[in-house]
Amino acid sequence: MRNRADLVIYWGGNPAECHPRHFTKYALMPKGKHLPRGRKDRTMVLVDIRETKSVKAADIFLQIRPGRDFEVLTILRAIVKGQYVNPAMVAETGLTIEQLRDLVDRMKRARFGVMFFGMGLSMTRGKHMNSSAILTLAAELNAYTKFVAMPMRGHGNVTGADVIMRWTTGYPFGISFDRGYPRFNPGEFSTVDLLVRGDTDAALILGADPGATMPQPAIDHLARIPTIVLDPKVTHTSRLARVHITTAVTGISAPGTGYRMDEVPLPLRPALKSPYPTDEEVVRRIHELVRVKPDWLVHQPRTTQQVF
């Protein structure tokens, strides 16, 4: 990317404020082998619903109406293949067909294109299908040139969770181990949906604060069931949890591995010492205690005398 990406598209994100080093260190400014002039050799396109601070850094700003991302991406897919689109209905997305044709033209002419998409795309109406649309568009553009798409992640090391789940189970998230083997079904097994439906009778929260971000029914359910929180500080979730275990801050007072947004693992060396145990140690000690309990899958007595 540093050496070759000459077309950079940000979709539904505000990197100038949310990922301040992304322009300078990663995608836009760096001088590379095939882009000796750095920023001057790249074209930056920003697609968003409102003018943010990132607009200043963009060569082209495409302002679309809220909730029309899927439509715009679907139109782009059609234009890439030279197919028909209804011009009157293109106008409803807030853009003109000429703007979109110009964008497709630039995409096809690029030597290496990158699309970064943020929560403005993946968390608005359509959700996973919006992400699916941008990923499919990137895949299809590879018929013409090299193109990749990458999500702009929010909190620290969410990429790490995805990566680890992927190589241990084959799936990135929304996994159930109820039957002793991983099953994947987002919507059925993803955390928000489980909590909103009230399908769990306990919760272990690690490095997240669902009490601050999830919808109210999910928060209510977390307050109802025994919830255990592992966090360096007292979060919104800790206040409604049965147990809060204070842990050391990974990267500052606990060692570990963090995954960068592009899935590059980085070793973290602690600068300070903490009186608190690390997340890993707490989970390991819980696991040791759970392990001495009888295995519920193999030695399952077929009786009615079991307690919940």
């Binding site: 679907t74 897919r77 197919q83 293109v90 359509g126 299908m129 039957r179 919507g187 009778d201 077929r302």
Partner: protein, 275 residues
């Protein structure tokens, strides 16, 4: 007829894929009582949750609010299940024959990847009706799903053949990526119906917001609709198909795929009302 009555609402979802006529018809009552059900990570006996009466056979009646009971009638190939109350996710998933009738609402993935048989829901259904599971190539391959109420997101996702009828307005992405079959929306849908469809037919009796990748092709009353109307008359569902009642505006798409699917939207002749 075998009758199972739910004693208590399970605290976490109960997976009951063994409750299907294929399994139960060949068993004695004692064997049925001892059948394993999956409650969360634990395996439990069937009689912990259900009162059992009647004689085992191909007819099965389930009573109670089974909205937390998943996978009922999975892969059934014969017989009949009648549910008096709600049913949970994956009802009739991968079914190969037989009949399911629900006097209540159902969860997501109703009749997912089914290949034959009939499901009738008197209430509302969840999302992903007759859909393909994540990562799977195609959804329902044949059979009929009739829902009197509403349905959720992504109904008929990647379906290949078969018929889905929904009485009330469905949510987004009806017929997403569908590659065959017919979806009849008797009260229209929210946005993005027919997104990325390759083939197949979506019929709507109410105006529908179109994607920009659909093109107007013509206005007509296709002959096959008369056959479909005759088939639907068996379930007391009216489908207008005659010229004196109005016409269907036909749109083809989705050109982003590019696909040959068709969207038929009913335009009644002045004064004529249907439903």
């Amino acid at each position: 007829m075998l009758q199972l009555t739910l004693k208590q609402n399970p605290p976490v979802p109960l997976e009951a894929e063994l409750i299907s006529p294929d399994t139960l018809a060949r068993m004695s009552l004692d064997e049925i009582r001892a059948l394993p059900l999956q409650l969360g990570k634990h395996r439990r006996r069937l009689d912990e949750f259900f009162d059992i009466s009647g004689a085992p056979g191909l007819e099965l009646k389930l009573i109670g609010d089974l909205s937390r009971v998943k996978w009922l009638g999975r892969g059934m190939s014969q017989g009949r299940i009648e549910i008096v109350g709600n049913a949970g996710m994956h009802l009739g998933a991968r079914m190969k024959g037989g009949e399911i009738e629900v006097h209540g609402n159902t969860g997501d993935w109703l009749g997912a990847e089914m290949s034959q048989g009939t499901i009738r829901v008197r209430g509302d259904a969840g999302g992903q009706v007759g859909a393909a599971y994540r990562g799977s190539v195609s959804g329902m391959k044949n059979g009929t799903i009739i829902i009197d109420g509403t349905a959720g997101l992504e109904i008929g996702m990647r379906m290949r053949r078969g018929l889905i009828v929904v009485g009330k307005r469905v949510k987004d992405f009806a017929g997403l990526q569908m590659k065959g079959g017919t979806i009849l929306l008797r009260a229209g849908s929210e946005i993005r119906a027919g997104a990325w469809m390759v083939r197949g037919t979506i019929i709507s009796l109410a105006p529908l917001p179109l994607l920009p990748t659909f093109a107007t092709s013509c206005s007509h009353n296709p002959l096959f609709l008369r056959l479909l109307a005759r088939q639907l008359a068996d379930w007391d569902i009216a489908l207008p198909a005659l010229d004196d009642q109005g016409t269907y505006d036909c749109y083809s798409g989705d050109s982003s795929v590019p696909g040959k699917g068709e969207l038929l939207i009913w335009r009644p002749r002045n004064g004529s009302t249907v439903q």
